[in-house]
């Protein structure tokens, strides 16, 4: 979704520099993209998947959905695909909506087709939300690092943040008294800083407090440091640790995947910002007195997004795979059908009911492949170097 929006609305900055009509950039890209047949196939499958997933959501949602993915019919367990239901043992409301078990049933007699429908929606959400979180964090931190990179962080700010953060952690850890006192101290420091800081222009900082304004390191150092720290964790292992320790709800899984995969986009954005900052249109905007936030989000972010977009598309694919891997290890959320957990619970029946493995297995394969091919096509199109040659 994000992808389409960004492409259909070419950024004003580029449009401004080029004298051609605004639509041409998009059209030019689109023409380029169309030539890449694999990527086109990816896009088509992606759109189909998207429609199925949204449809799946409406068809499997609620107390008595059209296709009930959780309906247990034990007497109909492990029926092969396309088999007809046994009319004698089923109540009318238990009959599959299509009249046959399109993809067969699993070990509890649940209809795989309904489960695949629900799973499509869940997999799609896992992918989009996880990547959404990662992109938001990445753009935010990368943007700050790239734009404000050289400003220094005074000791006082750091102190206040550490105290507040420590307080929150202490409360989470169950030491409420210590946490509250830490937060109070942190709040006091912050208030003091704000008071003194606002008065800064008018009168000099008192000597005693000047230590609070001692510059430690730059924002850039802080954020790249944070990125480095995050990169030190093996991603799948980190996700596994967190997911194993917290209750496995699909929301947590999405959030955890998101929180552990923002580093790529942060780096891209930072690098783009470092070069964009020096460009004329930014200087011009600054000279016009446009506010920092407006410059960042209105002018710079749209120009820096293309590598992020590509990595986001591929990120969605890998989020779906990670969810499948977690399900395989038993950390999936059992209250929803996801393609990952249909696949991993089906593998025990590989010899008795191969469709339980093959249907979701190939579905994941096709969708992930589509995302990857689409992302790759996008990369080719958005890469200015490759474009020149056409």
């Amino acid at each position: 979704m994000i992808v389409m929006n960004q492409n259909s609305k070419p950024s004003p900055a580029e449009g401004g520099v080029l004298e051609a009509p605004k639509r041409t950039l998009f059209q030019e890209n689109w023409n380029l993209f169309r030539k890449n047949r694999l990527a086109m196939a990816g896009l088509v499958i992606f759109v189909i998947f998207f429609i199925i997933a949204v449809g799946g959501f409406f068809l499997t949602y609620g107390r008595s959905p059209v296709f009930d993915p959780a309906l247990v019919r034990l007497q109909e367990k492990l029926r092969p695909p396309l088999s007809k239901p046994n009319l004698e043992t089923l109540k009318p409301e238990e009959l599959p909506r299509l009249g046959i078990y399109l993809f067969g049933t699993d070990d509890l007699g649940r209809d795989i087709f309904s489960r695949m429908l629900q799973g499509a929606w869940v997999s799609l959400t896992v992918g989009f939300i996880a990547v959404g979180i990662a992109v938001v964090i990445g753009v935010f931190l990368g943007g700050i690092a790239g734009y404000y990179g050289s400003s220094q962080i005074p000791l006082g700010h750091l102190l206040a943040c550490l105290l507040l953060g420590g307080g929150v952690i202490a409360i989470v850890a169950g030491r409420t008294a210590m946490g509250i006192s830490l937060i109070l101290f942190g709040g006091a420091t912050a208030a003091l800083l704000i008071r003194v800081g606002y008065a800064e222009g008018k009168r000099p900082i008192p000597k005693a407090l000047s230590v609070l304004f001692f510059n430690l390191f730059s924002v850039d150092v802080l954020i790249t440091g944070l990125i480095d720290i995050m990169l030190c964790f093996p991603v799948f292992f980190l996700i596994l640790t967190v997911v194993a320790l917290i209750p496995s709800k699909i929301h947590y899984i999405m959030i955890v995947i998101g929180l552990t995969s923002w580093m790529g986009s942060a780096r891209f954005i930072r690098a783009e910002f470092l070069s964009l900052r020096e460009q004329d249109f930014v200087t011009a905007a600054k000279a016009l007195g446009v506010s920092d936030w407006r410059i960042i989000f209105r002018h710079m972010v749209p120009n820096a997004m293309s590598p992020v977009l590509v990595s986001a598309t591929i990120g969605i694919a890998s989020a779906i795979l990670i969810e499948a891997g977690l399900s395989f290890l038993g950390f999936g959320d059992a209250s929803y059908a996801t393609w990952g957990n249909i696949l991993s619970s089906g593998k025990d029946f590989l010899f008795d009911a191969p469709w339980l493995t093959f249907v979701p297995g190939f579905a994941v394969l096709i969708v992930v492949l589509a995302f990857n091919l689409f992302g790759e096509g996008l990369r080719d199109v958005l890469n200015p170097k490759l474009k020149e040659r056409h």
Binding site: V72, L74, Q75, A244, P247, S248, A334, K347, D348
Partner: protein, 706 residues
């Protein structure tokens, strides 16, 4: 350049692929004599610690049962049989303090001598009679008086400011009477009080004979009196006669000191033994001579005998001197070094049929045959315990011939049992699955609701479709293959209509939206279970489904094991849960069903309370006579089935698959080998004769099949 780039990977791939030619296939393995002499068992998890005193996981205990040997074990019919002990006697020593203040009918007040004379006379006169009291008297073998004595005990107590203060208690105990009984008799004192006066024992006040120093702390005198001078005491005694000339794997001869050491190792607090609770009732383990051990118990505790099936450790390798030496050798602090740190736990040594050879964590544990095994060496030369963490790949390895036995899943058995190359076994397992209701909460306080919930679930359906028939219905908490189980109790019928009627009687009627409600409140609760058990997850959805059908609004939640136990079960924060118990053979139900065990972190988390049941539970754990124990158990079973604190679902069947080439080999007196098919025992244990198994190069044909 170009050709190198292509040649290098091609060569690499060709090299890797040709390795296939060197690997033995299923058929080739069958021709290898070495392979036939080895049994390979596949397991999902590794053993944790190979020391019978310290381990608590099933993988470890499987290995330990092959390396170590206990004093006794259970035979084909689950009765005790001697292993390291050839035979044993159980009798009792009973004590009571002479109560000078009590009025004894027809005697008046009596001192020690007087009481003894009185009892002797009663024994004499009632010799011929066959009532309960007389039987108890006839059971007395010896009766004697112990003179009074004084002694001091020091204790720690909390002072006024919360600090701990050392206090001294001076006890001047009155004379005591000691009786030796031929058999354990839990009702002895009840019966004696019919002779000595109803309150002869209960009016004895121990607190009168103690003084507490310093004086300020005497508020607990009553309690100390009860603790230090109990009016009566049962001291059951077991005397084990050990088998002579049994060798440990290093050739050292096993004797009574090893038994004593094993007991001490368990009781040593620093070892953190998980079995400490089993041996807590032991008062003393005494070595009478190198082949006789006497175990005295503090109180009646009938599960005691079963605990001596525990593997015996070699004292000569693990005594404090040996441990100190090991600590020094490894450069560790000898004062902090305990059995738990010793390398022994990674290379154990006992006197079982197999001797330890090698352990590679998460790969395999290899045991070799012990040729000096007292019962004669096993047929297999080697036993390998192999860790294959994935169920499907275990199956693949079984096909490839590199696993002989594995924990096969029910649906696999259905398919494999048809294959002519394999033989399959099944039997009831030692555990059951149930839905437990938190009876502290509405609506589960009402027995009718619990019963209705049970009636709404079609257990047969669960067994047929979820377990593929590999399970049996169960009605109560005892092992189905023992006598303790009451087969007269009929399982709850599957009857949703009846359940609705029962609920209607209890006040739950259908509301406007089809949900059951009472006083405007919906019948609504959350059913939880733990992650990682597919059967339970399946039952969860089935239960939810069947209850919803009759209009109960059930939510479900599947929680990670640690969270499930620590946050929900231990804190008693749940409505209903699906869980299983794995049981020992012994019928002791104290921890799970006694009403004193309903607090957080205890196992009666459903809060089952029933006075008669409490009484029976205590009686069962104090009764040493099998027949009487069986009676108590059957009654208890009845009560529990009536109260329905759990919906007892099923006891699973274990299933096993073996290659048909594995058979029992026995050698007859003339030295000719005789082969027979492996048959499970009556209680369903197919590995009972494991030491006689062997693998043949091809499937044998048994001519005489009955």
């Amino acid at each position: 350049m170009r050709w190198t780039l292509i040649a290098v990977p091609t060569l690499l791939i060709v090299f890797l692929l040709q390795s296939y030619l060197w690997v033995p296939s299923y058929e080739e393995q069958g021709e290898n004599p070495e392979r036939l002499n080895e049994f390979i068992e596949g397991s999902i998890g590794d053993a944790q610690i190979l020391n019978p005193v310290l381990s608590a996981d099933s993988a470890s205990s499987g290995i330990e049962s092959k390396v170590f040997e206990g004093l006794i074990d259970r035979d084909e019919d689950l009765r005790f049989r001697g292993r390291l002990a050839t035979h044993w006697e159980i009798f009792e020593e009973a004590y009571f303090y002479v109560n000078n203040d009590a009025w004894i009918p027809t005697l008046g007040r009596g001192d020690a001598e007087g009481v003894i004379r009185f009892l002797r006379k009663a024994m004499e006169t009632r010799k011929r009679r066959d009532d309960r009291v007389s039987r108890s008297l006839a059971n007395i073998e010896k009766i004697e008086a112990l003179p009074g004595r004084t002694f001091e005990v020091s204790k720690q107590e909390k002072g006024a400011g919360g600090e701990s203060v050392a206090i001294t208690i001076r006890v001047s105990a009155p004379p005591r009477i000691r009786m030796v009984l031929k058999e354990v008799d839990q009702e002895l004192f009840d019966h004696l009080s019919e002779l000595l006066g109803r309150d002869y024992f209960s009016s004895f006040d121990g607190a009168r004979f103690i003084e507490v120093h310093p004086k300020g702390f005497s508020s607990n005198r009553e309690a100390y009196g009860k603790e230090l001078l109990p009016a009566t005491a049962h001291n059951p005694v077991i005397v084990f006669h050990l088998r002579p000339n049994v060798k440990f794997h290093d050739g050292h001869i096993f004797d009574a000191y090893d038994v004593k050491f094993t007991y001490e190792a368990i009781m040593n607090r620093r070892n953190l033994s998980p079995r400490i609770a089993d041996y807590e009732p032991v008062k003393a383990v005494e070595v009478l001579d190198p082949l006789t051990v006497r175990v005295v118990y503090k109180r009646l505790y009938s599960p005691a005998l079963g605990t001596w099936g525990m593997g015996i450790l070699p004292v000569h390798l693990l005594n404090s001197k040996a441990l100190r030496q090991e600590a020094m050798h490894r450069g560790l602090d000898p004062d902090k070094f305990t059995l738990r740190q010793s390398q022994f736990n990674r290379r154990p040594l006992g006197c079982g049929p197999f001797r330890f050879r090698e352990w590679k964590s998460d790969q395999y544990i290899v045991l070799d045959r012990f040729d000096d095994y007292w019962e004669g060496p096993p047929n297999y030369k080697r036993y390998t315990f192999r860790i294959v963490p994935d169920l499907l790949t275990q199956e693949m390895e079984f096909y490839a011939g590199t696993v002989d036995g594995y924990g096969v899943q029910p649906h696999q058995v259905e398919r494999l049992s048809k294959d002519p190359a394999y033989q399959s076994f099944s039997g009831l397992s030692f555990g059951y699955t149930y839905i437990g209701y938190n009876m502290r909460r509405e609506p589960f306080k009402d027995r009718r609701v619990r019963k209705a919930l049970g009636m709404a679930i079609d257990v047969d359906k669960i067994i047929t479709y979820v377990l593929y028939g590999q399970g049996e219905k169960i009605t109560g908490p005892f092992l189905k293959q023992t006598d303790f189980y009451n087969h007269a109790i009929a399982p709850l019928p599957y009857d949703p209509e009846g359940a609705l009627r029962l609920l209607a009687i209890a006040g739950w009627k259908k509301g406007p939206k089809g949900w059951l409600q009472k006083n405007g409140k919906r019948l609504q609760f959350t059913l939880i279970t733990n992650q990682g058990n597919n059967l339970r997850k399946a039952i969860l959805s089935i239960a939810q489904d069947s209850w919803r059908k009759i209009g109960i609004d059930v939510r479900t939640d599947v929680l990670e094991w640690a969270v499930f136990i620590q946050e929900r079960v231990n804190k008693l924060d749940f409505d209903a849960l699906i869980l299983g118990w794995s049981m020992g053979i012994d019928p002791d139900l104290y921890q799970i069903w006694h009403s004193s065990q309903i607090h957080p972190n205890q196992l009666n988390f459903v809060a089952f309370r029933n006075e008669e049941a409490d009484d029976l539970i205590i009686k069962i754990r104090q009764e040493y006579d099998h027949e009487r124990q069986v009676q108590y158990c059957r009654r208890l079973h009845e009560i529990i089935a009536q109260e329905q604190p759990y919906t007892f679902l099923y006891v699973g069947k274990w299933t096993a698959i073996l290659d048909k080439r594995i058979v029992i080999k026995e050698v007859d007196p003339e030295g000719k080998p005789r082969y027979s098919r492996i048959q499970p025992t009556k209680t369903g244990n197919y590995t009972f004769y494991f030491n006689k198994w062997i693998k043949l190069p091809e499937v044998p044909r048994f001519e005489m099949e009955g």
